[in-house]
Symmetry: C2
Subunit: 274 residues, 2 copies
């Protein structure tokens, strides 16, 4: 077994470096990675302290191969310091910035912090507005709320609606409402009254019944609500409804919140608000 | 003025490619970029349709320079097709995967969808648990809730606590509760009773009073609550409390939700739960 320490180092949050680094490392099956993320490394002093710390960790595993460093650092001095450390380097900033400068025939500003910074008050406000909207319309539906929603997620209890709505709000600034299908809704053959005027905005979520059973058992053990039979009935009924009313839908069983949110954005041709 | 069309193309959500691409482009001031993101391009057919669409768009702006394509595509055939299109290419996958294969002395699986996929049921459950916890402890505080929280954000109304808590839950699986400082809390010199047993878990958020005034005006125009004088008084009082009780704190004024969440993770030495 190949063992490697992995360091994601960024002058900002490190969320992007970590995410791209992880997606590259996920392509390798037979290596065991021990990963750490270090955000906000934006001064030579911080880099010095970090590298001393890394050196200590590396010395703990003397028989391991050299560590991998995935970094995104704008400042030349900090970057040079990191890149001089004996490791295998993947430099997300420098690898591309020079060729981009050539292509665009203009010099990069080389300013730290233009990435995730508050793009503008306006876009921040849109994001907050969307989050507040989503929180106010989570399981507590009003006609007014549905009217103002960009999209309405429909599904049985615990099918993944709430986190998907929150992600749509945080990542894309969308006003995502959700409508939980109750046992009453599911025993009827017609679309719930409140949804009838908003059919074009509906998106369904379903989930594998065994998975749903496990999730609900955590919440209300040994209840009718959580029983496998009830979960099977509810999901089958919900899917019938989606088919009958031609509501596009997805299963949340094998998808992350990111994938669900992005799939809904594409399927509903939604325009992000910032 | 230099005008460029920019395409972020991914076989998954595109969130990472877009984010890294944006951070590179933000380094260039004098270029106007017209950006579009295309997720889930994972078959040759989808790539063909997309490239035909891109070609149409490019022909609309005949006097513009060639487009930029930022891509992350694992499948060789799909990638080759994209990379053969006449554009300036930044290939986030292929640029690094070969050298990683050499370094790790093992072949990449070259499987699409190992990035943002549900890492495991367990980590999905942790994320959901954190989101549910955060929703249940947003402004509605119980002793039990504070007991189980990983971190408790404290601040005046509209200082950015809720979105930051949600991001901590979604991105890091952390149970983030929040405690809004009421005018009563602020008129006292002692820490609110409910927080007294949890001082080690507190993190403060403050905000520029003029910014707070604008945010609150949107919500309750011309109220005492939203008045600049009241916003100044509340934020000054809150900051005094943070100093008096040595509660670490940050201003949300110029920071994104991502930056706030990551800063809190680091400052409180929190361990992500997945």
């Amino acid at each position: 077994m190949n063992n490697r320490r992995v360091y994601f180092i960024s002058d900002r949050t490190g969320i992007t470096s970590e995410s791209l680094g992880e997606s590259l490392l996920n392509q390798f099956e037979n290596v065991h990675f021990k990963k750490r993320t270090y955000p906000f490394i934006d001064t030579v002093e911080k880099a010095e302290t970090l590298l001393a710390h890394i050196q200590e960790e590396v010395e703990e595993d003397k028989d391991w191969d050299r560590p991998l460093i995935f970094s995104s650092i704008v400042d030349r001095d900090v970057r040079k310091m990191i890149n001089d450390y004996p490791a295998f380097h993947v430099d997300f900033y420098n690898t591309f910035i020079t060729s981009l400068e050539e292509e665009l025939q203009t010099e990069a500003r080389r300013l730290t912090g233009v990435t995730h910074g508050l793009r503008s008050e306006e876009s921040y406000d849109k994001r907050m507005e969307a989050v507040n909207f989503t929180l106010n319309h989570d399981d507590g539906i009003t006609d007014q709320g549905l009217q103002n929603a960009d999209v309405i997620l429909v599904g049985v209890s615990r099918s993944g609606k709430t986190p998907t709505c929150l992600y749509l709000a945080l990542q894309y600034g969308l006003r995502a409402a959700n409508y939980p299908l109750t046992p009453e809704d599911l025993s009827s053959d017609i679309l719930p009254r409140m949804l009838q005027n908003h059919q074009h905005k509906l998106f369904g979520l379903t989930i594998d019944s065994e998975r749903l059973h496990r999730i609900r058992e955590e919440r209300r053990p040994d209840s009718h609500y959580a029983s496998l039979a009830n979960c099977q009935k509810e999901t089958a009924r919900a899917e019938e409804m989606f088919h009958r009313y031609q509501i596009p839908f997805l299963s949340s069983t094998h998808k992350s919140v990111e994938e669900l949110a992005t799939s809904i954005l594409v399927a509903c041709k939604l325009k992000r608000r910032f």
